[in-house]
Each structure stands twice: as C-alpha cells, then as structure tokens.
Amino acid sequence: MIATLSLHLAIGIGILLAAPVLRRWAAPLAAVPSLASLAFAMTIAPDVLDGEPWTATFTWVPGLDLSVDLFVDGLGLVMILLVSGIGLAIAAYSGSYFAPNATAARTAGLLVLFAGAMLGLVTAEHVVILYLFWELTSILSWLLIGQRHTDAAARAAATHALVLTGSGGLALLGGLVILAREAGTWSVVELLADPPGGTAAGVGLGLVVLGIVTKSAQYPFHAWLPGAMVAPTPVSAYLHSATMVKAGIYLALRLAPAFVHLDAWQPVVLTIGLLTMVAGGLRAIRQDDLKLLLAFGTVSQLGFLFVLTGAGFEYATIAGVTLLVAHALFKATLFLVVGIVDHQAHTRDRHELAELRLGTGWGPVRVCAVLTAASMAGVPLMAGFIAKEEAYAAFIYEGGTVGLVGIVGIVTGSILTMAYSLRFASVFWRRSDRNDADVKSPSWTFGAPVYVLTALTIGIGLVPAPIIGDLVDVASGDLLGAEVASELALWHGVNTALVLSVLTIAAGVLLWRLTDPFVRLTGRAAPPIDGYRAFQIGLEGLFTLARVTTTRIQTGSLPRYIAIILMVVVGGPALVALTTTSLPDLADPLDVPVQLALAGFIAGAALATIFVPRRLGAVVVLGGVGYGMAGLFVAQGAPDLALTQFAIETLTIVAFVLVLRQLPARFSRSDDRAGQIRRMGAAAVVGVGAFVLVLAVSGTDPTTPASDLAVAQALPEAEGRNIVNVILVDFRGLDTLGEIAVLLVAAVGVTTLARVGRRPPRTGVPPLPEVDPLDPTTMDKDART
C-alpha cells in the first residue's frame, strides 16, 4: 500500500512537472497508479475477505506518536476498489474528454494525487494520518475546482469549497485529537473498539461530525458541492460523486457502531441526513442544467447515505455499504454521460438538448443513461434498487421512532429521487431521428467507461450476491464486529419493503408529471437565503471584521504605535511593581548635594528641550543635558564615562548642526490640544513607570562577583590599572567589538542615505542611475560615469 501511495505521489508530481511535454500521454500514465492499486487490492483481497485485515506501518515523528499506520479491512477494500476502479474509468475517459494540452495533463496529474490521497484516507489507521489525507483531498479538490482558473466562477467556487471543507477538516482534527486523548490511543481501530465517554469526548465527537457534515455536503453546508460543478466533468464525476464526498460517509460508517449508543447520535444523524436528502431532492427536481441536477441529486443521495451509514444498526450498515457502492457506480456514470453530452453538444440544458437531434451513434450512450438513471431511482433490476430495498427493510426491521422517522424520511426522499431521475432520463429516451444528426456522436473509446460501469450496475442489480455479497458482508461485519450475512438478492418475496418500493416508484412518476406545479408550490416555501449566499455573507462579515479591526489597530501613525509600545513595555511592569512589590521609603537621605544640583540641571534642560522653538536651540539645550550627564558621571566617580560622554556629546551636536542647517530654523507649531494632552498622558505614564521601576530595585543590595573579579584581576592578569578600560578591551572585549561593528555599519548607512542621488557639484551633468555613493572610486570624484 505504501508503495502504491508513493506511486500515486511520484506519478502525480511527475505529470505536473512534465505537463507541457506529456500532453496526450498524461491520461494513460494516470491510469497506471490505479491499475497498481487494483492489483494490490486483488492480492490482499483473499486475506481481507477471510477476516484478516492487512496492516502496515511507517514511522514519521515518533516524538509525537505520528506514524503512517495503514490498514485495510472489508470497508477499506470496498473503498480501494471504488476509488481505484472509478479512477481507472476516469483516466480512460479523460483521454477523450480533454484536448491534449498542458492544462489537461495537469488535471490528470492532480487527479492522480487526489486518488492517492483518497486511498490514504480510507486506509489510515492513525487518526492524525486520517486527517492528513482528509485535508489533502480538500486541498487537491480546491486546486482541481480552480483548474479552469481564468473563470471567475471557478475561483469563487474553489474558495468556497476550500474554506468550508478546510474548516471542517480543522474541526475534524480538533475532534480527533480530543477523542484520541480521551481514549489514550491514536489508533482508529483501538479508539473505536473502546470509545471514550464524557463531556470532552462528546465535544470531540461533535467536532468530528462537523467535519463529516461539511465534507459530505450535508445541509446546511452543502452549497459548495453544486458550486464545485464548475470543475471539468471528469473531476466532478470523480471527486464530487464517487470519492471525496464519500470521505465523510466512510468516516460515519466507522464511527457509528461505536457511538450509536449515545443519546444524541441517532437524532443528529437522522435530522441532518434526512433534511439533506429531502432538501437536495427538492432542489434537484427543478434543475434544467443536467450537471446541476446531478449535483443536487448527489447532495440528496449523500443525505441518504449519511442516514444509513450513521444509523449504526446492523441492517442500516449493510444497506449503507451497498448504497455506497451502487451510488458510486451510477453517479460516476451519469456524470460521465453528461460530460459526453456537454463535450459533443456544448450544452447541458435540457430544453436546449430537446431541440437537438442525436444520431444513431448515440444509441449506447442513451441506453446507458436511462438504465443508470433507473439505478439512481431505485428501479428493480438495477444496483440502486438492491440498496434501497435493503434500506427500507432495515428501517422497517428496526421499528420504533427511529424506524418510523427513518422510513418516512427516506421514502419521501426516494420519491423525489425517482422524480428527478425521470427528469434526467427523459432527455435521453426521446425517439431519435435518422442520420441528419445535429450533434456528432461520441467515439467508441469515449463511451467505453460508461458502458463498463453501466454493465456493473446491471450486474449487481441482477445478481448482487456473487458480485458484491462477500464484500458487503465482510465490510459490514468488520464494522459491526460481528458475523454478517446480508443475503443481498433481487427478489425477497413480497414484503413491506417491496410494497414501499412500488409505491415510491409510482409516486415518483406522478411527481415527475406534476413537476411544474409542484415546483411553483414549493418555490414559495424555499428558504430566504441559500447556502451559498449564507457563506458569502459570512465571508464578507469576516472580511469586514478583519478590516475594521485592522484599521483600528494598524493606523499607520507612528506616534500612536510608540505611545502604546512604551506604555506597555515600561508602564506594564511598573504597574506590577507598584502593586505587588514593596517600594522603599522615598525620603532617603541625600548626602551629596552636587548630584542633586546636577540632576536638577539635567531635568531642567530636558524639560527645556520641549519648549525651545528653534531646532538649533533645542539641540544646544540637548547638549546641555549631555554635558550635565558628563558632570554627573564625574561626580559619581566615572571619569572615563564622563570623558566619552563629553566627546560624544560634542560630536553629536556637530552632526546635528550639519544636518539641521538644511532644515527650517523653527519647529512648526501645532495647535492640536487633544494630541498634546494625550502625549502628556503617555509621557507621564512612562516617566512615572521608570521612576517606580528604579525605586523597586533600589532596595536590593546584591553582591557583584563580576565587579569584584574585575577589580581583583585587572592588574595581575590583564596588567591594566584603569579597570573600566580593562573591562572594555579585555574582560568584555567582545562587547566592544560588537560596538565598533555598529559604528562601521552606521557609517555605511549614513553615507548611503546622505549621498544617494546627490548631484555632482560642478559638472551639472545628471548622474547615471548606477551612481554609487559608497563606491570608493566615486567618493573622490563624487560621480562616476
């Protein structure tokens, strides 16, 4: 299996990379992994059918208990066969459907990757790996929907699908991780064998269900699926009928037996599933676009599947597995038929199609279309009938409220299904006329996948037990942990289920005849907003929220940023210090008046810098602060510091003067009173904050081993008497090294900024764009030509 998955990955990526070269060879190449996967399924099938699941493990991140654990039991086998079998059909079909160009090749490559992800999903035994492949299918579906990327609708639909299934996927991850935590295992099998209980597990399960519901397009999250129909038809046929949307169903099948004992489980599943089945059907019967009709039909059928697979009791599970197979077969076929029609006739609208004449070459396709639609409708002799019959029987057998609600719901849904199936099929059973066809008939190879799949549908419909009986039994048995003998058959004798089936078909035909008045009637009862619109509003809301938040916070105003940052960084800790630490007595004795005088001078000068109206004046006053600091250093006993401060202050003033001579002499006056007050407030917070922080530490009296060492070792070890200098060049020389690096870099920056774009002083010739202010050769001449 790992080899198969790797093959999917390798061939998928290979096709993507080599797309422009491959063109028409992409489709045949894309069939290879599916064939390999089918071959693999055949080799393990005997063991699996004997009740021996196949397993494999591949370590990934042991520290997080992440390992690619795979297993194939009965259900896994069914899914592999579906995914790879239909994948093979799609690959064959794509060869005829697409023009042989790079885009088509890329689609084929993505489809291969998708098939790989889907296979991983249905064989994952580690919950996180399950999520991994789940999310991969979402991402690949996003890319596939967006393939026709020049189309605005495609982009919107891709976004919609991505956001919905992506969010669902994350809910799933959260839920799975919670469940796994509660169960104490990452293994899917172990988790389900001993399901956790309690509130946390309940929340986790809820999140998992949310994931299932979004992925399998249940109401009210269904709308992305019809939107995704902008994708090319092979993509729709594969992803949105046979595989990806089945991921949720697959998971529901696995979870249901373990969690069906919870009070909330069956009501939730039945409500969502039946609502989806009926609502989807109601939408389907009013479609004129055949592909959309199928899309809503798929939504409806997914609801049906969710009811069956989630119901959790034995017969429902059997019916669920059977319908899973039947649905994949007929829905893929129908999509392929629509694709053929669309490809040849360039329309999918039933009214427009009614105007067109189809030639005799269309015969096989039309027959297949009608037969497969019959399977969808649950007409006897077709696979769909077998599944629906099982479903009816299951709910009748179950009885009780669940049985009653279930049977009423699925009968209603099935009547709708019958009606929209007829609506679909009616396009194809009209008598066709002679040879003057308007539409060219499809080639034999184009139709071949349809013929094969239809044959399977009929085969299962006629003799279900030999074809899928064992598979269904083993799959259901593995799920339920019991021996299951389903006894699938065309004829069970006259029973309630059969009567209901007949009634369903009759009511369906009636409804089909009355479609127009019915649509008018129900149209009035339609909800005010549909799912897509709701999504749109939600997304707009999110964007608005984001923008409002951002513009409130990211105002672009530097003073505002500074005020917030300083108040948080200085004010915050100061507040904590003020409220939680014991500050020392403020009135400590002042024994050195010189310091007090200097401090007063410095503070006064600092205050004066605010009020000086002229730039140079302010700089001179700032110089006063600096010299005052130098004086303070002297008074405290730090002559080196004082000397440096003095020299640096002088140079700083010179540099200021050199720059400021270019600028206006006076500061501009602002009359922004509110702003002044805000600034003063911020200044007060920061000033008091600094004051408090210094006080907070002033009570401490630590030993300072580093200083003692410096004093002790300066002369004997470093042979220097000036301890500060010894620290700078010996003990902490690296600081100094960093510091001169700062100086060098600053010098580079200064010259760059000051000289970039400066015109040559005398020549008057405009400089070339490449004038490099930092180039030593230009430094002398000021310009290089």
């Binding site: 959309l292 749109q536 210094v694 970039v756």
Partner: protein, 136 residues
C-alpha cells in the same frame, strides 16, 4: 540618593517620551537622546553609591570604587547610541531631501486599506457569480 536618580530617570523618560511622540523627526531624535540619557541614569543607579574612580593605584580599598562594570556598559551604550543617532540624522536628512518635510506621515498603505474597503471582498471572490445562479 536613589530617589533623586529615580526621579531624574523618570524626568528624562517623561520628556523623552513626550518628544518622541511628536511628528517632527528632529524632535523625535531629541526625545530618543533624552531617553538614552535616562537609560544611562539607570545604569548609574546600577553602579551604586558614588565612589572613587576605578583606577588601581594601590591606595584604595577595592570596595571604595564605583562599580566599574555598569560604567563599561554605559560607555558601550553611549557609543552605540552615537552611531545610531548619526544614522537617524542621515535618515532625517534624506527624508528632508525627498519631501522638504520634517514630519513623519502615516503609512500610506495602512491609510489605503482604511479608505478602500471594497477591494477585499472582490478579491476574495465571494461576490462572483456562480453556477448556482442558473438555478431556477
């Protein structure tokens, strides 16, 4: 003693903050210089009570020295501040050359995002027509 220094640090931080909050680059620069002085005052507090210069001439008790380590820190910081101040001056200079304006403007892209609210939704693709529009 430390109360005086705490007050001095507070004063320098307050005046520095006030100036940094102005929109004129020159005043911001002066404010930054005042804040740096404030930080140096804190380093001076860290050096402890006044003492003798830290020179070893054989006469002093080592404990009478002003703690040399914070002095070294302050010295390093002063020089670094000088380099950065020069760079900021160059920035102010460049800004003046380009705009003939010494004030710091709001970030234009932030302003644009604030004033053109509709572009996002369009970009998200949320208001694009979809195939479902054909639904009758």
């Amino acid at each position: 003693m430390t109360t005086v220094f705490a007050a001095l640090a507070g004063a320098l931080f307050a005046t520095g903050t006030y100036l940094v909050l102005q929109r004129e680059l020159t005043r911001m620069l002066i404010g930054l210089a005042l804040l740096s002085h404030g930080a140096n005052v804190v380093l001076l507090v860290a050096a402890g009570d006044p003492g003798r210069p830290a020179f070893l001439d054989g006469r002093d008790e080592p404990s009478a020295f002003l703690d040399p380590l914070p002095q070294a820190f302050a010295l390093t910081a002063i020089v670094i501040t000088f380099g950065v101040t020069c760079f900021l001056l160059a920035l102010a200079y460049r800004s003046w050359v380009l705009t003939q304006d010494d004030t710091v403007q709001d970030d234009p892209e932030d302003v644009r995002v604030r004033e053109e609210p509709d572009a996002d939704i369009e970009r998200s693709g949320a208001d694009q027509p979809t195939i479902e529009a054909q639904d009758r």
